[in-house]
């Protein structure tokens, strides 16, 4: 089964030593798990005052690889538009819970409008780590109601919800907002307590993407889950690669 991973990263995590943090190590893990490519983001860029300081070397490393490098934007810092012009990204990722950026902030709305205009998908990050395991820094919880309102405010923006968990995906308002749209997707990286097959039945496989959150989470765990859960082969194929190809085909 061919797989594309929309939620993988390279770089350092400030709170623990990651055993597999470089791009070559990601390639090795992906290769052994049958992952052919995907959307890769830079961990360093989350934590740097100027995310472009992380993205500059990262885009150079990822160039020419089978991966689409994703640009990180902190909407709270000035003049991120300039960086979007500079990197010409095929996707942009934000971390509102890390950057203290409410989902109804004017800065995020401005970014959403620009991405909509340029037809660049937005990767909206919920959780990166379970709240009971945070250390020193405690990001805000993922905001299901705020996400629903954001999706409704930007209906033409292709949006990938990454790291959303069962409580958010089961939230009635967010559920409705996702179902209303045919350009909203979510990944299966973070879900631990509910069988992803439940979400296939709720939303349809056409809204789901394979994400592993490597190197923070274990790729083999999500890969094995995708391979073994009780869904049809067509649904499995859509989650593993079909939806990704449809979204990011050149």
């Amino acid at each position: 089964m061919l797989i594309y991973d929309v939620n993988c990263l390279v770089g350092h995590w400030p709170f623990a030593r990651l055993r597999h943090e470089s791009f070559p190590e990601l390639l090795k893990i992906h290769h052994s798990g049958g992952v052919a490519g995907g959307l890769v983001s830079c961990l360093d860029s989350i934590f740097y005052n100027d995310p472009s300081e992380g993205d500059e070397p990262f885009f150079r490393i990822a160039a020419g690889s089978p991966y689409i490098p994703v640009m990180t934007v902190n909407p709270n810092i000035p003049c991120w538009e300039r960086d979007i012009d500079r990197f010409s990204p095929r996707a942009v990722r934000v971390y509102p819970t890390f950057h203290g950026c409410p989902l109804d902030s004017p800065e995020l709305a401005r970014l959403a409008d620009l991405l909509t205009e340029r037809k660049i998908p937005l990767l909206l990050t919920g959780w990166m780590l379970h709240p009971r395991e945070t250390y020193l820094f405690h990001p805000a919880p993922a905001d299901a109601a705020g996400t629903a309102a954001f999706l409704r405010a930007h209906p033409a923006l292709t949006t990938l919800l990454l790291g959303y968990n069962a409580p958010e995906l089961s939230h009635d308002d967010l559920k409705a907002a996702i179902r209303e749209r045919d350009n909203v997707y979510f990944d299966i990286a973070f879900e631990h307590y509910m069988d992803p097959a439940v979400f296939v039945r709720t939303y349809g496989a056409e809204k789901m993407l394979y994400g592993s959150l490597t190197p923070l989470l274990c790729l083999e765990s999500t890969r094995l889950t995708l391979e073994r859960i009780g869904i049809t082969e067509a649904e499995r194929e859509a989650i593993a690669c079909g939806n990704f190809r449809r979204l990011f085909a050149k």
Binding site: P131, H138, Y193, M194, D195, S221, R223, L224, R228
Partner: protein, 245 residues
Amino acid sequence: MNLIDMHTHLWLGRVDACRAAILRAAGLYGYDRVYVSTLRSAVPDEEEIDACNAATAAFMRDEPSLVRGWCYLNPRNANWKDVLERGLNDGMTGVKLWVATYCDDPLVDPIAEYCIERRLPVLIHALDKTVGQGTYESKGMNVRRLALRYPSLRIIMAHMGGNEYTGIRAVADCPNVMVDLCGVIYRADALEYAVERLGAGRILYGTDLSSDTPFWRNIGKVNALPIPQYDKERIFWRNAADYGL
């Protein structure tokens, strides 16, 4: 693949659903044996403890080739010894302590001494959380204090202490403490960290299973470890078998 899941639960109030989920998982993952304890409230009275252990015993009777039981005790209850002896008569393997007291509370001492005398293992819930810590919920340091007080007590620290950085560090030099990997399903490197600090010989496979949660994730974490296949087998089942489970 051989597999011994030494940490699963029935929950009073939905025992039938939990039993069904455990049986489905046993078929799906190919379990050889499943160790079950039944829980409900944090500080159960004598009546509730009896109901919990009766549910476990009934499951053991109904599935004798698959299900083994932990005898759930509340150290605050005066009748713990009678409860434990009844559980042993029903064929239970050892003691389960949850969150009624810290595990190093002096109330646990007589239970520890009883278990040492009969070489009974004690499965201790320990979960160090940044948010939502229970009132009497043990952490790795509680387990450490108990282990040092009773160096011949056979302890299994559940969930690797909930946070490997505090849990594993706390018991690394306590050879009478094994750990189980269930409940620690988040960080990719947690299990590798545990293997580095404890060795594969002190880690047991478990799931905390009580519903249809896809536990391929736990299996995947062991499969992904950069250790020889034999050591993976130790985690999946050999350690448990060697431990007498």
